[in-house]
């Protein structure tokens, strides 16, 4: 009897209880491919034509990142220049989430004042409102900084548009090759030749302050490592030991260089060279080839490639004396050329994926590998200073080109840059 009553009670209470609960919906992933944004051409308060189209540069930056979908300029139904003039209802009709407006005005001393504001269409809120003085020759750079600010405000990650990249361009017939070490803006524009030689140039690496490049050059007839200051062009030979001098990589404090040396015994191992004193510390001592060192962000350990287990895999070794190397990559038969993300949580590597060399991302804690690219011969990964993207070379049609993949693999893009084969790109640190 009691049971029957209970059953009846249950039958009565269950639907009632459900009816009182609010609806709960789990959102498991963001399906939107990119953020729709309107970049309104800036008002120019001076005479004649505007000295620089800031909005065009910002629009190109955001579009190139793959994470934004700027409204084509032709579809801008109105062109406000201040936040208060942004009619969110209108922009909502155009399915735009954010509107960037601003104006450029001449300032004293041949300089300009750049004002810009970012408005959220959803909330009507003004998210950014900045006025910066800009040097006459730095308008493009200032435009990239606007892109950086917008990127960071909306995505929560500092933009890396105002950074630079270094790479080696190779052209000419096989018998008469020309090697150029080039530095350009992150978008591939504004190329600048740092060093040029008929002999191979390899492995450019940025100093942490972004003012110097270390690289390998054979121009003296044998491999040697040089550090060159970009502003002055001063080139300093830092290692020309017998045998291999290769794969330089600056420590986070910029005072040391990790490198691969074979020295007299011909056994390639990883060393650390203190630049000021030329003091050399041997980190590995293994009959196998240990090379391609990369510093962990905390400067306390170094990742490197070793074929001690038969095929190349990534290992890590601490800098303290007597530290033993520990294997880091276990997935796949080939993982090489590690580059560490700024937070130290992932390594960008070259991995052999179903017969093709591709860029992979390795979780340094869990060891899992995610293949990010789909080319046939993708090489030389370099992580952006914000960790959001990886720059690499991709062999397309028998020619090496530069490409970028987002660190989650969602966005891939090509970089239009110099002619010839483009090798071993290196993304600069943030340049403040």
């Amino acid at each position: 009897m009691i049971r029957r009553v209970l059953i009846l009670m249950l039958a009565v209470t269950l639907p009632a209880g459900e009816a009182l609960a609010q609806l709960t919906v789990q959102i498991l992933r963001g399906m939107a491919e990119s953020v729709p944004i309107a970049v309104v051409p800036l008002a120019w308060d001076g005479a004649g034509p505007a000295p620089w189209d800031v909005a065009a540069t910002v629009q190109a930056d955001l579009e190139r990142s793959g994470r934004f979908r700027p409204l084509p300029r032709s579809q801008l139904i109105e062109q406000p220049h201040t936040a208060v003039d942004v009619d969110t209802a209108d922009w909502r009709m155009l399915k735009v989430d954010y509107v960037l407006v601003g104006r450029l005005a001449p300032a004293a001393g041949g300089r300009y004042e750049l004002r810009y504001e970012l408005v959220s269409v959803a909330s009507g809120e003004r998210l950014l409102g900045t006025a910066v003085p800009v040097d006459a020759r730095a308008l493009k750079r200032a435009s990239h900084r606007v892109s950086d600010a917008v990127y960071e405000k909306i995505l929560g990650v500092r933009g890396a548009f105002a950074t630079r990249i270094a790479y080696v361009a190779v052209d000419g017939p096989v018998t008469k090759r020309n090697f150029r070490l080039i530095v350009s803006d992150a978008d591939g524009a504004n190329e600048h030749v740092v060093f040029e030689s008929p002999d191979p140039i390899m492995s450019p690496a940025w100093s942490p302050d972004g003012r110097s490049l270390a690289y390998v050059s054979f121009h003296s007839g044998l491999a040697a490592i040089y550090v060159q200051t970009l502003s002055t062009g001063t080139q300093v030979q830092v290692s020309a030991r017998s045998g291999i001098n290769g794969a330089p990589c600056f420590s986070p404090d910029g005072e040391r260089l990790a490198l691969a040396l074979s020295r007299r015994d011909g056994n390639v191992d990883v060393y650390v060279l203190t630049l000021a004193t030329q003091q050399l510390q041997r980190l590995t001592e293994d009959p196998a080839i240990d090379t391609e060192p990369a510093w962990a962000p905390d400067g306390r350990s170094i990742y490197f490639t070793s074929d001690r287990a038969g095929a190349p895999q990534v290992y890590s070794v601490g800098l303290e004396p007597g530290a033993r190397a520990r294997r880091v990559t276990f997935e796949g038969s080939y993982n090489a050329r590690p580059r560490v993300s700024p937070d130290g949580r992932t390594l960008a590597v070259v991995t052999l994926d179903r017969g093709a060399y591709r860029i992979g991302s390795v979780d340094t804690q869990k060891g899992g590998l995610q293949v990010l690219t789909g080319g046939q011969l993708d090489e030389s990964p370099s992580v952006a200073p914000n960790g959001a993207d990886i720059l690499y070379t991709s062999r397309v049609g028998g020619r090496d080109t530069l490409a970028i993949v987002s660190s989650d693999g969602r966005v891939q893009q090509k970089i239009a840059a110099s002619s010839g084969e483009l090798r071993e790109p290196a993304w600069s640190p943030f340049l403040d």
Partner: protein, 268 residues
């Protein structure tokens, strides 16, 4: 046991003693009679007797005879008495024995009766027990049967309830699930997930809608995302307005809780 035997032997002892005494008296009596002729012979020798003497002697003789007769009488009486006593004792003994026999018999009878009664009682009890057992078993069986029937009825009721609930409910539940899925897809399509936030993000936002689906308010609950994540969610929710209508009007909820918990970074 010994006491009992002594008790039974005591009367026998007395009987022997009495018989011995009786035999003694008889012998003594014979002796008395054998001495009488000697006294009779004497007067013949004494011819010269005085009258008085004769009278006295006659008196003495008569007295002696009387005494003897009395003695004889007494002995006979004693004998008779003893015989009688013996007889009485024998009778008493017989009576006692008979009584004992009777008592024993009675006892045996009684015992038999008791035994019989006990047996009857035991039989009755056993029968009663068996009957009770049988009854209990029957009752149990009946109860079990009842319980089975009740369970069956309840199960049927439950099934019917469940079916009914499923019919109303399944429709209800599946409609509700499809409503939830519709909102989920609607919001997910409008959410741009900022890079690198997927790991461990958990962000709850309660959205208020009015009939027609227009979002008229939203409020963040617990959220471990940064400003950009909140921005992305707020934008997604505003862009999701109006929310899709429920497949059945009664499913409409003014408050919808959206829980943003991306599983992991999306792979290609």
């Amino acid at each position: 046991m010994n006491g009992n035997r002594n008790a039974t032997l005591a009367p026998v002892g007395w009987s022997i003693a009495l018989h011995a005494a009786l035999a003694g008296l008889l012998v003594f009596g014979l002796n008395l009679r054998s001495r009488e002729p000697e006294a009779v012979i004497l007067p013949i020798d004494a011819v010269v007797v005085d009258d008085a003497l004769l009278q006295a002697a006659g008196q003495r003789r008569r007295e002696d005879e009387r005494a003897a007769a009395e003695r004889q009488q007494r002995a006979a009486q004693e004998l008779e008495r003893r015989r009688e006593q013996e007889q009485q004792e024998r009778q008493a003994e017989e009576a006692r024995r008979a009584e004992a026999d009777a008592r024993a018999a009675a006892e045996r009878r009684q015992q038999a009766e008791v035994a019989a009664k006990e047996k009857a009682a035991a039989d009755a009890k056993r029968k009663a027990e068996q009957a009770a057992e049988a009854k209990a078993a029957a009752e149990k069986k009946r109860l079990a049967q009842d319980a089975r029937e009740r369970d069956a009825r309840e199960a049927e009721l439950r099934t019917r309830l469940a079916e009914e609930e499923a019919r109303a409910g399944a429709g209800f539940q599946s409609l509700k699930a499809s409503y939830v899925r519709a909102i989920q897809a609607h919001v997910e399509q409008r959410w741009y997930e900022p890079p690198g936030v997927a790991q461990g993000l958990s962000c709850t936002i309660v959205v208020r809608q009015i009939p027609g689906g227009e979002v008229v308010g939203m409020k963040f609950g617990t959220c471990n995302g940064n400003a950009a994540v909140r921005q992305s969610i707020e934008t997604a929710v505003r862009n999701a307005s109006p929310l899709p209508p429920p497949p059945e009007p009664s499913l409409f909820e003014r408050e919808v809780e959206l829980v943003f918990t991306p599983k992991e970074a999306r792979s290609r």
